[in-house]
Amino acid sequence: MHPISQPVVKKDHTEKMAGSAEYVGDFYSTDMLHARFVRSPHPHARILEICYPELPEGYCSVDHRDVLGENIVHVVEDDSPVFEVDEVFYVGDPVAMIIGPDPQRVKALAAATEVRYEVLSAILDIDDSDTVFFDYHYGRGDCEDAFSEADKVYEEQFSTGYQEQAYLETQGMSARYEDGLLTVHGSLQCPYYVHGAIAKATGLPKGSVRVIQDYTGGGFGGKEAYPSFLAAQLGVAAMKVPGKDVRVVYDRREDMEFTSKRHPSRCTYRAAVKDGRVTALEIDVRFNSGAFTTLSPVVLQRGIIAAPGVYHVPSLKVRGRGLRTHTVPTGAYRGFGAPQTFFAIERLMDHIAADLGQDPLDFKLAHAAKKGDPTSTSGIYHYEVPLPEMVDKVCEMSDYRAKRAAYAKEQGRRYRNGIGIALWFHGCGFTGSGERDFIKAVVGLHKHADGTVEVLACNSDIGQGIKTTFSKVVAAELGIPYDQVSYGNPDTSRVPDSGPTVASRSLMTVGELLRRAAARLREEWVDGQEQSVEEHYHEPDFMLPFSLEDFSGDAYPTYAWGVSAIELRYDSLTGANDIVGCWSSFDVGTPIDLAIVTGQMEGGVLQGLGYSSMEQMATDANGRIRNNSYSDYIIPTSADVGELAVSMHVVEFPFGPYGAKGAGELPLVGIAPAFVEAAEQALGARGINHIPLKAEEALEYLGAAQKEAHR
């Protein structure tokens, strides 16, 4: 283990432990104004008129007429408005806002605001969608040939549901406009995304906008793009009431219903098999984007690049579509499109193996890519693919092989066990050339005369420990104590744009820039002097340039790898399951802090287990999310998993600091297919191709299996 992996006390431990860390809802001011949205009750309608109730002194309304800049919240494209003008596109679409000093009164006034609509027809299901936001294609080899020569062709359909980030702190933002400066602070992942969005919506020059990240109570992708919306809306409001703080903190129901969540998916996979090998895959991926494009293009890109999984399949034909529906826009959630397609490919491989009478794990290993093999986009796996060793480790931890064989032979009368295993990767950093072409990250270090060094970057600590790991990297490179390095919550008036806190890029990409900056500072170090250094991103030379036109080249510089085995025990009377254990091996390169990385892995695995089973989000006849509270949207508790064990495998990445790769998203990505494989074995079922897998359904599968047995 590299010495840098040795855990330290996290930089933000003390204030978070003692409850003195201030999240956006904790700030206090005597003249705070609270904001409440007026939202569309219809999935699709024309706005005829907005009638505000009489507003008492100190209260005011805010709508599109108050947008002084462009009525656009910039995400990737520019189709989302700050406030709707003449049409609404999903239940919850913001039409207006009421602001004022008393939150109860604001709420009542928002409820009393009457908007007259002409209801229009709505499309709620992607099968009915008539708008394709994005349609991507790529491939290689000759699929037609492979299918015509195949011994056998398999075709299956897969579907996955919404997943809500369910960060413990809901979305919240606060804005104040004073002396020509608009200051916005809140719960967010990407200060400069927010900064750009506000400038566009308010028409203020960039220098007149300041964004500060407050302590943030979890993000998981949910605070990547959505805070740009809130900040644009509040920024517009704040400019109407100069000199006052305007704040919105969502209640849980509002947050669950109207903020972005994971894209539900439907995928169709066709596989050609010849001589026991998969020779070709034809893949059709469809994601429900909801009403606006937001992050769908990039989520979809990652999803389809991961669609063939970790396998080397000679011929590929992949299509991916992001489809519009009149539902809440979907967006970033840890894994970013990959959990959906990994679910599909892993299930497909399990089923083909079963049909061929082969052990699914052996079948998968026989197809797994190796160093030097082409990636799905005809890039190269430049570094070691450590899956065989990781599989061995997981087998040892879980006793997978013996259990798999035992449960295949015999099951208990009441309790039935099953075990499954999945293999996956997560492409580290931005997809394609985004880092080089769009982000162009800049970092700085500032050394004070007393020898303390401050990190200047804008990556936000949302719980993943970036304050600590950045500081460790800089301290190690400078050869100074960790306590001598500090990294506060980013403030755009003080720090450069080192890019967003997304894509498992912060530590690998920005951390490496900081390491390089620290190496320079070490050389230039003069005791007793204030000194600054800056460092800019350069793409590593070894990469095959990626083209989004035809999805060719290295989509990622390197990959983080995951293997998990999951054992389930079903009660055949109730259909309820116990998660007996989940054993995983992860390779994220050098852990910059073993305790932090382990915590990230465990947390991600648990979210994956929730995604597989209990986290269900249904919609009503208007496409509105029905599971809008922690009593309806159940997330795992401390009592839900028997054993959750994680082991780290290290393949160092020479272009990450001390060999670190991306980590944050990896652990969630491949949990669901392992879970469902275990469920299939326990339930004696075949072809369970959807998640979440509910307890009621388990009973049906059990009933069917028992009937089969009695025949």
Partner: protein
């Protein structure tokens, strides 16, 4: 209690300290008291100090603590009794403060993280949570720490399973719970005699 100006860190700290330092604190509240409801006066011991609060007795204790008494270490994750972020100790018993009416706390002892963090027991938990890196985003943590206190004071030597059950009313979306459970188990050993 003193009113503070501006939305600054200092403002909030000043308000918290005034609640903790003055022997009797009275707050009149624009936020939680609806004008039509008759305000009542409620006296209780908050983090070791007697306070008197006036307002609508049906107000949520969570709002009273956060908005009126400025104890923002009490977090709000749902307001519906489902997440445990707002956990406090009421006469030593762990409760969700969003499910307690302010009128009910007259004559009780209320402990929030702001009070608890000055204790010897906290120091032990602080050290074990730090060593295990059990704090990620931190939003569940004040509630989680008080859940740990409630558990250990009822059962100073819990098994892992008892810890898992004991904190199962406190949701954490970040950690996967292992580090928190281990930190509590470590504290039960290292704090021998304290609980």
């Amino acid at each position: 209690m003193s009113k503070t100006q501006g939305s600054s860190h200092d403002g909030a700290t000043a308000a918290v300290m005034s609640a903790a330092n003055e022997a009797v604190t009275t707050a009149t509240l624009p936020t939680t008291a609806a004008p039509s409801v008759r305000a009542v006066s409620v006296s209780f011991v908050l983090n070791g100090r007697e306070v008197t609060w006036e307002g609508d007795p049906s107000a949520k204790l969570l709002d009273v603590l956060r908005d009126d008494l400025r104890l923002t270490g009490v977090k709000c994750g749902c307001r519906e009794g489902e997440c445990g972020a707002c956990s406090i100790l009421l006469d030593g018993v762990l409760v969700n403060s969003c499910m307690v009416a302010a009128g009910r706390v007259g004559g009780t002892e209320v402990t929030t993280i702001e009070g608890y963090c000055t204790t010897e027991r906290f120091k032990v938990l602080d050290a074990t949570f730090a060593r295990r890196s059990a704090v990620q985003c931190g939003y569940c943590i004040p509630g989680m720490v008080l859940a740990a206190e409630a558990l250990l004071s009822a059962n100073p030597h819990p098994t892992e399973e008892e810890v898992r059950t004991g904190i199962s009313g406190n949701l954490c979306r970040c950690t996967g719970y292992n580090a928190i459970v281990d930190a509590i188990l470590d504290a039960s050993k290292e704090g021998e005699g304290l609980w």
